[in-house]
């Protein structure tokens, strides 16, 4: 065969086609790139220098579809992709939830929390104890303050706190005493009155400023996409080591995936409860058995295994070439 019937197109057009082919996964480009460009050039009308918009869009869409595609006749790859989607969406939701909480009003420091407590308690007691608690596994951190007092009057306390800028709040599980808000913070006051003394508890937590749901949903969506794309890439490359580490990652991520989705559902069902997703990764008793850090440990191990999986899949050499016959010029 001579080269006379081979396409001779404008180099600019060829460059445009090669650029559009970047929408395809790299192994696919390595396998089919030259062949697709040849066909595109053969189909191009003489004199064309740029791809038509519809043609460009179709190539990009086909490339994106190829990235999501799972090999035919491999049901295990399909199962793995669904599990990876679930794990990815759980991790993404946690990341989105964490990002949302970073936009909340910062919690007061221990000095400021003690000052708020003194206003609520109405006494300048010296034995104030302040703790910042993680809030895991269901909500974000809180500043918890406790002190012993002699007497307490709720009306006077409300007036003192109102003078300090605190306004009444409606919350899902109200305190029998006081629930107030100020500048994105929720203050809960509980006082236990005994025969000769009382104990005052104040808890300050940050309120959702409206960012939690959109950022968590966005994280969930992006995580799901990432999970599916990783699973599809591993399946397409047919790398046995990557498949094994990928399967191990899914096993390791199973428990934290469940825990994270449990919180995600709770958070979306009860948006005013202050639930967060990432808080299940705080050392806490989400699971009845095992150490407190089990979710955090498993998620770190799972993400490391995922990184190894991606690296193994990326370094997988291309498939064997077919016999190529060089055509004489």
């Amino acid at each position: 065969m001579s080269t006379s019937d081979w396409p001779r197109a404008d180099p600019t057009l060829e460059r445009h086609y090669r650029r559009l082919l970047r929408a395809y996964p790299r192994p696919y480009r390595r396998r089919h790139g030259a062949e697709i460009v040849t066909t595109l050039l053969e189909m191009a009308e003489p004199g064309r220098r740029r791809p038509r918009p519809a043609e460009a869009w179709h190539l990009v869409a086909s490339g994106a579809r190829q990235r999501f595609r799972l090999p035919a006749g491999r049901p295990l790859a399909r199962v793995a992709a669904v599990l990876a989607l679930l794990a990815g969406s759980a991790v993404g939701a946690a990341a989105g939830s964490w990002a949302a909480v970073q936009t909340y009003t910062p919690l007061p420091g221990h000095g400021e929390a003690a000052a708020i407590h003194r206003v609520a308690a109405g006494q300048a007691s010296a034995d104030i104890t302040v703790h910042t608690v993680g809030g895991g596994p269901i909500s974000g951190p809180e500043v918890f303050t406790i002190t012993s007092i002699t007497t307490w009057d709720v009306t006077q306390a409300r007036a003192r706190l109102a003078a300090d800028g605190w306004r009444p709040a409606e919350v899902p599980f109200p305190s029998p005493d006081l629930d107030l808000v100020r500048d994105g913070l929720h203050l809960r006051v509980d006082v236990l009155v005994g025969d000769d003394h009382a104990t005052a508890f104040t808890t300050v937590r940050a309120l959702d400023n409206g960012a939690w749901r959109p950022l968590t949903a966005l994280g969930l969506l992006l995580g799901a996409l990432a999970g599916w794309l990783i699973a599809a890439a591993v399946a397409q490359r047919r790398s046995r080591p990557a498949s094994l580490t990928g399967a191990a990652a899914l096993v390791v991520l199973a428990a934290p995936t469940w825990a994270l989705h449990d919180n995600t559902v709770a958070g979306f069902q009860h948006p005013d409860h202050g639930f967060t997703v990432h808080s299940v990764l705080e050392p806490s008793r989400f699971w009845s058995y095992g150490p407190l850090w089990v979710n955090l440990g498993l998620i770190v191990a799972g993400l490391l295994l995922t990184a190894v999986t991606v690296a193994l899949a990326a370094t997988r050499p291309g498939p064997a070439r077919h016999p190529v016959r060089e055509v004489a010029s």
Binding site: M1, T3, W6, P7, Y28, H32, A34, E35, I36, V37, T38, T39, L40, L41, E42, M43, E55, H58, L59, A61, S62, G63, R65, Q66, R69, P71, A72, G73, R321, H322, P323, V324, R325, E326, V327, S329
Partner: protein, 114 residues
Amino acid sequence: MQEPTFLILTALAARPLHGYGIVQSVLSLSDGEVKLRPGTLYGALDRLAEQGLIEVEREEAVEGRLRRYYRLTDHGASVLVTEATRLRRRAATAETQLKDRTAPGFGGPVPGVA
């Protein structure tokens, strides 16, 4: 089986073809109705190769251009025969139904149907 898949297998039934050859053959087989775009064509070729219905026969390369010739496997030919038989049966059923059809309100056969 979708029509483009059926037409690709049909195009490869007679002889091995490269990408552009398949596009031209499908266009001709479908009386100009189906013009495959490269994204669709190579997606389908990849899938059909994975299913063992087609395989690469040979490659030709010149100055950075590459033509890969695909051929129908025995399994692909068998699947194509089955599909062609199924479509023939469907067409025969449709013709039978049309013959039995009567024009509404007149009781006679539909004009143009033998």
